[in-house]
Amino acid sequence: MILNTFLAFITEEAEKGHEEGAGWILEHVLDHVILKLPTVLGIDLSITFHVLMIWIAAALLILVFSLGTRKVGLVSKGFGSVLESLVIFLRDDVLVPYLGDKWKRYAPYILTAFFFILTCNLLGLIPKGGTPTSNINVTATMAVLTFLIGQSAGMRKKGFVGYWKSFIPPEIPAFVVPILFFAEVMGLFTKHFALAIRLFANMIADHLIVFTFLGLIFIFKNFLVALFAVPAAAAIELLAVLIAFIQAYIFTMLSAVFIGIALSEEH
């Protein structure tokens, strides 16, 4: 009974949030059009809330890095060494271990993806902000980019036929080959699909939990519930900061792993 009421309430509020675009916690994750633009070639170019957030993220990154990189040199200072240490961390823990000698070719994508996703994740934690990475369109686009980079890298290295051949380990019985090939190709798509879903789900989850905790106050119609709900929501928000970093790292690390697998001789 209570669950049904709760679900109805959430749905209703979500609708409201969707329409009004403000005043409720779900504004952090829900998308809505803020500037209507014409549809070109079947693509509705309207600027939505998440498009705006992506632009803000990009602008922030450009601003931060243009200021920070000035302090990077033989001896880095202040904020420059913070940015630099993050880049060194990604190079030593993600790029070089998974991509080997050719890491420099993929460094721009991996580094940009990490900082872009991180900034998008963190934008959802500030008031009036929103998380573009809680939108499956954004995470799927990123996953598709990883997929395309991995496939093109593998095909460029091993040739088109050689790349697909590398899915099958040598010296296995002939009758296993079709099954194995099918499974490997399925796996190839599944892991990139999972890449998109993982980021999306993680980013929407913390907002949903906060939403749920605060929603309890309205469902019970008793302000005493707030004594429990508000601290719990605050704790979840703190956890969300950690998750923002972890998920950005996991996405980039897995991207590097997948590109590395596509480049490796066999699976």
Partner: protein, 171 residues
């Protein structure tokens, strides 16, 4: 619950516009940051790492050189000490030999001088004795001649003297 929520929202519905903007923004961001950040940061880091590596290598090389120099200097010092010791001992030996030589030479000289002196002394003594004897002869002769009051011939004198001397020798 999640399903209802997502159904009602735009999070799971395909939005080509958002995909388009994401791709455009991300690629633009990638190119801008590549120029603005990744290239400078990575090259700065690699420069520094190269520099540090070079410094470390140089330090190691210098240390090695210093150690080599130290051992060579120590060897030289030891050699010099040995040489000094050798020179010293050789000098001492030479000095000893020279001393011995000088000593023996001077001893011999002294002995020779002593011998010569002794010889001279005995010679002088002989001479003196002969003189005394002659004088005695002369004296006795003059005394005798005074007594005899006449001069003896030379032969007589000689005979007498010889007899006299014989007597003296016997006595």
């Amino acid at each position: 619950m999640l399903f209802i929520l997502l159904e009602s929202s735009s999070l799971l519905s395909v939005n080509p516009g958002l995909i388009f903007w994401t791709v455009v923004t991300f690629l633009l961001l990638l190119f801008i940051l590549q120029k603005l950040a990744w290239k400078p940061i990575i090259s700065a880091v690699e420069n520094r790492e190269k520099r540090i590596q070079e410094s470390l290598d140089r330090a190691e090389k210098m240390q090695q050189e210093a150690e080599e120099k130290l051992t060579s200097y120590q060897k030289m010092l030891e050699d010099a000490k040995k040489e000094t010791q050798e020179i010293l001992s050789k000098g001492r030996k030479t000095a000893e030999v020279v001393r011995e030589e000088i000593l023996s030479k001077s001893n011999e000289e002294a002995r020779r001088l002593l011998e010569k002196a002794k010889k001279d002394i005995s010679l002088e003594r002989e001479k003196a004795l002969a003189d005394i004897r002659n004088l005695a002869v002369d004296l006795s002769l003059s005394a005798a001649s005074r007594l005899v009051e006449r001069s003896l011939t030379e032969d007589d004198q000689k005979k007498i003297v010889a007899n006299y001397l014989k007597e003296i020798k016997i006595s």
